[in-house]
Symmetry: D2
Subunit: 353 residues, 4 copies
């Protein structure tokens, strides 16, 4: 390992002693703190930058990957990850979150695996796909949020005639930072599996606000409800908007048996902004990825402004100011690392308006 | 205070000393433990007894009270309480729970008050009534559960043409035991109040499983959702029954923001038993009141068996074995003191089949 | 059951109808709410009254019971319970708490039993006694707090030459109200059991603030630490008094593995007031029993004032104002139902100074 | 950003299309998942390696830094960090933890600052130093654990005649991964500050197991007790060893008001192993740093074995098997990221013996 060099200001005889000292330090697999002043900056250093990806490009490339990358070349997880230009070539949207578009063509199957990195899907286009989560078939449709939590088996099936494209988010960078990655491939895929219109998870836990099975099942670290349907999400936003006095409404997706975030590392929420309305400007410690599901808006992230339309995705890095100004009625899906920051005592939020 | 007398077995001279001692003890406002052997029996002593009240009688008397007891004679809370014959004339259904039928005639109003005893309503018959809970108008219809938690203002309005009869339950005996009763009458009643089809509470917290407002409001000791609608309850039971393999299904009503019981002293649940099916036989520490909302059944409580039809109510005392055998498809509303028993470390359940 | 009678003001023909109605109501095991106006008073009705018991009397009668009541006449639990004159002859100090003095003579043994009512001992006089709690021998000495939580086996042994007198408190009235009493006699008593100077419970959990075994044992509803020693209590009060600016200091005894109250139904605390200093005047919902362990004071409870000396005990009923004015440096042990009131959402406190 | 290249196996015409596609993907700031197979390995990849640092070297270099690096060259935080050879020159002991030795000479002061990275000190040698934590002076002595939690002000003072060397640990790599670093320099240092033998924090919260102030202060994310003294730690280990049947004993340092880990990101524990005894062999997800405080041992980490003596430090990376075999009676201080792993639902432990 190279020794960090200390440059004495004057070339005095002590210089050699110091240099020798630094050599000894490096040789002992130590490093002086005082030569690494940048290691604790006053505020989170902007590595990940405010950034947006246009749906037009995402979709074109996803479709093109469908043509070019068959199953035997890796197409069983045909995923294009959002690669934040500030992160030195790493395939991550922010410091803690992976974001991507996944494309599954007609008749294709993404075979079973599981990993400790938690994942979620927010469907943008297509129909007829279902995901098998721990043996429970979960149909997918646009606007739906589908969870495949930490260490849960999952495989994707498209028995239909049209491709599906969805947004994938994982806490992969976070779990990698914690050196906590485990991964396992599943057994051979199933075929000809019949799918009910609702998963067992939904039949058990998705029946209505405050209505849960009388007998409690054992708690896991994540929600036992794996799918949140657009119909319900949309109705809820419509209802909350009635009570709103600033043209914005937002809901949080939670574990219906505990009211806490769906997964311990990722908060999921949906935000509606009426044409002409704006959200409050704030910044928080930790990052998020957003998907413009409907409408269009100007989004301000730090010093940058992005004009966004349906399907466009964007990354909000840690401690960047953030606000949305809708130019048409707009809906946004958001996922963030907020539950992790809160659990670790690190969350802070500052309103700037 | 009378002194408990100790009868010496032999009439020896010591007798007088002991009597004198007991006199001194009583005079000092003390009591010997050893003369009160019954104070800690081996199992909960059966004071409240297994008991059932027939809907036919309840309804007749409720209607009769509507005719005979006008507002100025107490009719502003026209309530007939279930008086368990084991409880020595106290107006309580069990040792910890008050149960009652309340009747509100067309055009009548039960004016505002609040109390630390928590209350709930489960509607049996009628339409058009609404309850104002802390200023939020909550419409009521058959099968609905409506909460008026500890210290929340509530008043009932019947602007329609038909009477309504509902089941009232309170934790009044429990709160009295704790010497924790507070009561306050409200200001003059409102008139001509317009009522939305759903309360603000429902618009905010009742939109769907796992969908809550993004911004958390301050937590209180009880659910912020005040109404659970029969339509949702019925659909949930139907769904859960699909997954059932014994012809029974049951749901618990919970605070949608935390997944815990709706109130810290009262658990609320709804139980469906298919014709010919039976529930498991068990007993638990603590009591409950049940309302037969639909169908008919034979209910075994301790050594007693009751044939029950729609509207019939029954009390299950502490540590009495209990099971339901449906003779027709049947639905039951139940409220119990289970959350209190659990919070105080006293809950125990024993299955007997 | 007798029918509550409605006295019509005018003797009109309707009188009979109403009387008949009330007869029918009573016959159906129902009771009208409107004839029971006192059932929900505006504030907790004063049943238990502010009251004090003098140590001189308590001790004399305890010793006298030692002479007069041998083992075979009930002396195996030679307990004189504080009987609040407001509670109609019930052997309870307050509505929720049992208090008593227990006397165990030299060579005597109180054999094993257990009950769901939780108990605690606060030792006033004597030495050499130990209590076996779930098989763990716990020595007792003046100023010590010893727990025998819900459903834990306990037996008391006095192998020494001097009697011991301690204060007993149980949540018995509360547990009776909940109909949750279970009781079981133990097997034959052990003899010649060697006792270590500290219990296994203390060796495991009593080593110091914030120092617990690395491997967590399964949590129960109560503290795994069964004894809190006077030496530690005294030192803590001395330390806290150094930081105090009003001449008072108070500590709470908690479960060292969770920081919560030692038992879910009873809070335990120790209060020191310097000569001439006073505690704040307040009232709370729920009751407490206090033991003057050292010093003397004037205690104001509601409208009453008591002059108290070492060993004197007193009861503070629900919602009575309360303050202590020390005439000599004074220490008080207190137990209350506060954790139950808090768990059930019923706690309220009002400061009055 | 360079495009990851796909090498077609056959040089067919499609090759150009695919290359063009990859170029487009890279240009759009996207990355294909299927070319990054290593991103989710089956178990945590061994980046940080099992490693040990010898006290002899640490001490020599620390002392040498005291001679060579005066205050104006960075000596106000004279810290040599343990640099794990597997971490590519980063100054971190493991993937989530910073470890270091800090040297403070006689008469020196390390001025006030605070940061969101949480820190702790475990003192190895010296006397007379105190740390000011949020205005509360905390004396330091060998074997003491002193906390400076997230965002708490801290400065170190050595008014004595001898240097002090202590072990520093921070969750810095973890907090950096989360992009949650904040840092602030304090105001000018205080001088001539008188120090009590115990901090206010200890006077308030450090009095004994299960004894806390009666009035609760507001909870923060970390322990209100900032110092855990060797005397107490040693006595606790001695006591726990009496109950041990395998020659090992271990304690966890916890928040005395809640029983949870002292800080949400770092578990602290102390482990005693008798000469000849061994700890169980296990591995866990997440990493730790250990300090040999007393005695000597052979430590097995993964495939490596280290002979360790007093003062030696070592790093246990994620998912490496680990066990200690004491060659003399030995005590170890340990800090790990376990609370973070547990809070995020990622903890897993496997016993291997």
């Amino acid at each position: 390992m190279a020794s960090p060099k200390f440059t004495a200001p004057d070339g005095m005889p002590r210089k050699n002693e110091v240099d020798e000292f630094y050599d000894s330090v490096a040789e002992a697999d130590l490093q002086p703190l005082w030569t690494q002043m940048g290691i604790m900056p006053e505020t989170p250093p902007l590595a990940a930058i405010p950034y947006a990806w246009k749906w037009k490009t995402l979709k074109e490339l996803a479709e093109r990957s469908g043509e070019l990358i068959p199953i035997d070349r890796g197409g069983d997880r045909r995923v294009l990850s959002l690669s934040n230009p500030g992160l030195a070539g790493q395939p991550f949207a922010t410091q803690t979150l992976w974001g991507a578009v996944q494309y599954l063509g007609p008749g294709e199957v993404a075979p079973a695996h599981r990993h400790t990195a938690a994942a979620l899907r927010f469907v943008i286009e297509g129909s007829g796909v279902w995901t098998l989560v721990n043996g429970d078939p979960v149909p997918m449709a646009p606007g739906d949020l589908v969870l495949t939590p930490c260490w849960s088996w999952h495989e994707h099936h498209n028995p239909g005639n049209t491709p599906m494209i969805w947004f994938d988010a994982l806490d992969l960078p976070l779990v990698r930072s914690l050196d906590a990655i485990f991964f396992e491939n599943g057994p051979d895929r199933m075929v000809n599996r019949a799918v009910d219109p609702a998963s067992r998870s939904e039949l058990t836990f998705g029946n209505g606000a405050g209505l849960v099975p009388f007998e409690e099942s054992e708690k896991q670290a994540f929600s036992p409800l794996f799918a949140y349907r657009w119909k319900d999400t949309d109705r809820t936003l419509t209802t909350l908007m009635k009570l709103s006095n600033d043209g914005t409404a937002a809901l949080k997706f939670v574990d219906p048996t505990r009211g806490i975030d769906v997964m311990p590392t990722m908060r999921c929420s949906m935000h509606r902004v009426s044409a002409g309305a704006s959200t409050r400007k704030f910044r928080r410690n930790g990052s998020s990825i957003w998907v413009t599901y409907r409408g269009s808006a100007i989004v301000s992230i730090g010093e940058d402004r992005f004009h966004l339309d349906e399907g466009d995705m964007f990354a909000v890095p840690s401690w960047c100011s953030f606000s949305i100004e809708a130019t048409q009625d707009a809906d946004f899906f958001c996922t963030s690392d907020a539950p992790a920051m809160e659990a670790l005592g690190l969350a802070r939020t500052e309103y700037l308006d």
